[in-house]
Amino acid sequence: MSTLFKCAAKTILIVLIGGFIGATLARFAPGYGVTEEELDSRLSGESLRALRQSQQLHGNLMSFYIGYWGKLLRGDLGFSTVMREPVRQLIAERFPETIKSVGFGVALGWAVGLGFAILSITARSGAVDFATSMVATIALCTPAAVLALLCVFAQAPGRLVIAVIVFPKVFQYARNLLMRSAALPHVVAATARGLHKARIFLWHILPVAAPQLLAVAGITVSIAFTAAIPVEALCDMPGIGQLAWKAAQGRDLELLIVLTMMVATITLLANTAADLLGKAATHG
């Protein structure tokens, strides 16, 4: 219970500090509070002053922070200057698409990565090990943006790219962990006694590696969200990755910071859940 409380407190603290840093960065970014409308020569001095006031330029740093957090706590995530829509509405529209892509990518990436790792360990063949490692290395060394473009050429679903990004990481971790477990003395003894490969794997190798494998699950969520940006931008998928890219190109800082904090919270929660599950598996 205390571990759970500590994890929750740590997550909240990190999000609060992150939001504070985000607000500071947005406030001091070059061009903050300057809009294209100010270039309109038809505007009078009074109109310009009113415009600047609406951009909160005259508020001091403290009132800016208070205003920023007050708005966030009321559920007002601001207005996107690039998309011309409230940020809350944009996120509500696009978040499900990203969750679907990330969920699919993580699930498929784990299935393929773990499958390859198990194959590599149980086959005990140099050729199989070399082939699986080779495929993983090529996937690891190809930028996500290039994979997304190749997916467009092949007219394949963009979500596949997220799986291709996740799978080599899972494969590498899983292969190393399983190899270490397979070298344990009791596993060697079980092999020497002639136990079936599947039985050795399921009863003696996998349970030892499982807690650490679960810890990796949290990291793969972060990797999948990172991959979502180039994938959604280049495959024209209307998710928050594409939104972040558009916001970056249009320097829509408020939207970008809200998106980054949201994704950070999700990855923090995923990491915490994975850690807790790993600990539970170790003690169980």
């Binding site: 740590k10 603290l13 990190i14 500090i17 992150g18 840093i21 985000g22 960065l25 947005a26 970014a29 070059p30 061009g31 290395t137 090529i138 690891l140 060394c141 190809t142 930028p143 996500a144 943006a145 290039v146 473009l149 050429f153 972060s222 990797i223 969200f225 990172t226 991959a227 940006i229 180039p230 931008a233 280049l234 972040a244 890219w245 916001a247 970056a248 190109q249 320097r251 829509d252 800082l253 970008l256 910071i257 998106l259 980054t260 994704v263 950070a264 990855t267 923090l268 990491n271």
Partner: protein, 266 residues
Amino acid sequence: MKRAGFAAIVFLALVTLASLLAEVLAPASYAQQFRDAPDAACSRQHPLGTDDLGRDRFSRLLYGTRVSLLLAPAAALLSCTVAGLVGGTAGFAGGWVEEFVMSATDLFLSLPWLFLLITVRALLPLNVAPLTSVVITFALLGSLGWAGAARVVCADTRRLCDSDFMLQARASGSAGPRLLFRHLLPNLKPVLLAQFWISIPVFILSETNLSMLGLGVTEPLPSWGSLLRELESYSVLSARPWQFVPLILLVATVSCFHVAMQREES
């Protein structure tokens, strides 16, 4: 493994050498336009053809390789220096300093890498000179990519601080800077060097992703990322497979870094 590692190092050395000798090897400058031959096929004059603006692809590849291959280690050096300072100080001080610094590191690590990168990149002006865009891109990579390495350095510093030789050094009267510079830092060198080599391929791939999204190195200066942007207009009908040469070179180089690192580990 040893042979593969050696071959990888030789390949990396050759690619680096070719990029350093770009002025000698390239048939033209990276920005020179051959306006009478836009989108030309491979020829003796243009070994990899020309792009749609009539610029020689081979020359741009050589100069682009130089930008990516020289600045990624510079960014890695910056990130390792920050990681060494942050992680080393936290591990050496211990107690609440370590707790605080590692919490800040957790904050950095919890932010998905590309989200953080494009957010901070967007905070800076986007319409900048090509050279400034290169500096901004790699400085950002270096200054934001320290968190993972700092965690490793902190753990190693903690381990070293608890080791017998440090206890003996303290017992002999060593303290403060002497303990730090004479005993701790030389023993941190291997872990810092490993983090340096690990960071290089990560930064190369990050620059490629950023440039392909239009947030990295700007035209006309080439980098691997900006060269690969050309693939966006690739058409199977035009059948110009040499457009994939930068991609092959990038994958081969990053793979060689991985193979070379595995050799060092083994």
